[in-house]
């Protein structure tokens, strides 16, 4: 009898805990569909459109140095960039980091830009890359636009986690209220991408304190960086209240109600919004060790009078 009771208790416990975890079906039906209208999706998918909204609403974003709207604009764009350095070329509708080109300083002698590792990037190669982007090579559509952003120089905390690129803070917001947050850290294993499924690192942030409290790598909780050995827990995210406020304002600037807002912290400019996602992933629950259901409930409690 005790076995039956124990089993029943375990099952009951599982069912109770299950209600706190949000699966894809529940996310779509209760969060994405009711809050995000299909026709507003382009605002999330098109980084340039989103950026226009953010600029209009006064949300800080990385400075746009140039945009390239078609093949005809490629030469002028390249001309405008020659002599300048430290920028990033991105497709407006790219996904998964495809087509993003990070460029270093301009080398007057070589007549080319420096890339990571000292490789050279000639204006001709730059023109070809821009042409590829406007041709839609990186965006599964017939044509796209390219834009050039000033390269963010990450705050020391983030630079320490991943020197070669950019870590961002993913903040989940519901009706412009932050619900959950984590740092996404690329690793050498993930090939420089912050994708958690490909070996990237997720570090949970306690929403109230802005302190890192948990880290997950390949589904396992870790306390130190798997490659550098740097400690991951108990770190204070710089400008935390400003990061949250930036995410809140970015979410408020678009008509989408349930979002993943990606914020980077620039060493000088502070928090900047990189992009927003209208169907943010659910892996953040594993990173925080907290169901989205619990987080939503907690957020509701927090705002109750």
């Amino acid at each position: 009898m005790t076995v039956v009771r124990a089993l029943r208790e375990r099952l009951g416990g599982l069912l109770a805990r299950r209600a706190r975890v949000v699966g894809i079906n529940r996310r779509n039906l209760t969060l994405v569909y009711p809050n995000n209208r299909r026709r507003d999706y382009p605002l999330a998918d098109d980084k340039l459109l989103a950026k226009e909204r953010f600029l209009a609403a006064g949300v800080p974003v990385p400075e746009t140095l140039a945009t390239c709207r078609g093949l005809f604009e490629v030469p002028t764009t390249v001309d405008a960039l020659v002599g300048h350095g430290a920028f990033v070329v991105k497709p407006a509708n790219g996904s998964g980091g495809g087509g993003i080109l990070v460029v270093g300083e301009w080398d007057q002698v070589a007549g080319a830009w420096r890339r990571a590792g000292g490789r050279l990037l000639t204006p001709l190669t730059m023109a070809r890359h821009l042409a590829d982007i406007v041709f839609g090579v990186h965006s599964n559509q017939l044509e796209d636009r390219a834009f050039v952003e000033r390269r963010v120089s990450p705050h020391a905390l983030f630079a320490g986690l991943w020197a070669d690129g950019l870590c961002d803070v993913r903040v989940i917001t519901l009706r412009a209220r932050p619900i959950m947050a984590m740092i996404r850290v690329p690793t050498a294993e993930s090939d420089g991408r912050a994708n958690l499924h490909q070996g990237g690192l997720g570090i949970a942030i306690d929403l109230a304190s802005g302190r890192t409290c948990r880290a997950l790598h390949r589904g396992r909780p870790v306390t130190h960086h798997p490659e550098s050995g740097a400690p991951l827990l108990g770190l204070d995210v710089p400008d935390w209240s400003a990061v949250l406020e930036t995410a809140r304002r970015a979410a408020a600037a678009v008509p989408l109600g349930y979002l993943g807002v990606d914020v980077v912290v620039d060493a000088e400019a502070g928090p900047l919004v990189l992009e927003i996602n209208a169907r943010p992933g659910l892996e953040i629950q594993n990173v925080l060790g907290l169901g989205l259901g619990e987080a939503l409930a907690a957020a509701a409690v927090a705002v109750a009078p």
């Binding site: 599982l14 109770a16 805990r17 299950r18 706190r20 975890v21 699966g23 894809i24 079906n25 529940r26 039906l29 209760t30 996904s95 998964g96 495809g98 590829d132 041709f135 839609g136 090579v137 599964n140 017939l142 490909q198 589904g219 629950q285 594993n286 060790g289 907290l290 169901g291 619990e294």
Partner: protein, 525 residues
Amino acid sequence: MPPSHATKITAVSAALVLGGLGLMAYKVRALGYVVSDVLPVTQYEVTYAIELDGRGGEVKVRSFLPSSDAHQHVTEEKDVALGLHLTQAMEGANRVATWTGDRVPDGAQIRHTFKVLPHRMRYEVSPDLPVPTAYPASVAVSLRPEKEIQVDAPEIAALLGRLDAGQGPALQRLTRIYQATADLRPRPFKGTTDALTALRLGEASCNGKSRLFVALARKAGIPARLVGGLIMTPGTKKTSHQWVEAWVAGHWVPFCPTNRHFAELPEHYLTLYVGDEPLFRHTADVNFDYRFETHATLIPSPAAKASSTSFDVWGLFDRLHLPFSLLRTILMLPVGALVVVIFRNVIGMPTFGTFLPALLAASAGETGAAWGVVTVVIVVAAVAAVRWVLQELELLHSPTLAILLAAVVFTLLTTTLLAERLGLAPLTKVTLFPIAVLAICAERFYLSLTEHGGRAAGQELAGTLVVTLACYVVMNSLALQVLLIGFPEVLFLVIAADIYLGRWVGMRLSEYLRFRGLLRREASP
């Protein structure tokens, strides 16, 4: 106040379920649809495969072909006999086929194929039915002695006396004769055994037992005759079979003492001819060999076909001369899509698109599930190889896909060519795979490979194949197919299930694994 969303959903689902079930109930109760008719029946395809060495001379082969009757429905006869000409004639009740040819070379082949839909026949013989004293002339012939049916031999009369089967009602006489012949020891003897030999030896094969039965029945005043035919068991064999018919109350009633069927003709018996005749006669100086090849397939019962009278899609397709397989595919697609939805939304298995596994399963109808999977794997491998080459060229997306389509076509043709060389008959049918479906599959795989990498693309491919197999099993369930043809309103239930799953917020099975850490944790304070 306007109805809430949940109320609307419930109302629509309830209307669909009640409407579907209600229509089905109405058709069963008021229109007389018979649910048991929905079960499929076995159709046999029988081939006479004859080989002979004609030695360049004149050849004549005579045999019997089956006729349609209450027991068997014969269709789709096909004759392939190079250099031989088939003529047919009725001799009494028998269809006699004669293949003739001049200068027939060695190794000439005749392949005569037909499909048979048989029914089991059972007869009730009233226990007090008397044996008449006179019969119509056409039946009375079957009372006479024949060379190997020695009706007038004293030993036959003596045996009849010992059995006490020469008098009394017809049923009593037939039962005793049947019992005595059925009790003869079986003997797998291929040659001809006459009635007297069977009696003297106390053992016989089917033709000896049957001849003794006929001799005894005739002596007892009941017209009887031999029946020649086949027992249709799937496979290849050389043996034909003989049994008996006795004239009772105006009917030829079958008896098989060899396999103990009394007044009954089992479903898998095929009647070819009546009378004491050999199945084959041929020109004397030729080498002659034959075998029977039998295949069994399940098909929808004709009763189900006949009972579908309202919203009769089957009849519509018949009138438009559209193949049954097309109707089946169309009706089963929503069911296949429901299977995909269950795998994606309840189990959480990634696939290429929602419809693709169902479409692939429908396409695999021609090749079978296993070869369908092989086809997809071959095409996907070709796509991966082409992508590897194209990557270097850095082409735009749409032209790349157009090249992929050409690669798919080329792969299919090459596969068919190789399969034909290697004698892999099922694989030669891959060209029947709708190219559009394979092209979509190739495109999805390519996109997944490009956007999510090899690992994710491999997972999606594996998921697609698993779900395709599940769809294949469900969509090829004959009972389900016939149910949907008879009751297309079952699709209302399918839609209701889709609506339910469309509002289902439960965790996918795969998510229990993904979030197992969270589910194991105690509640945070």
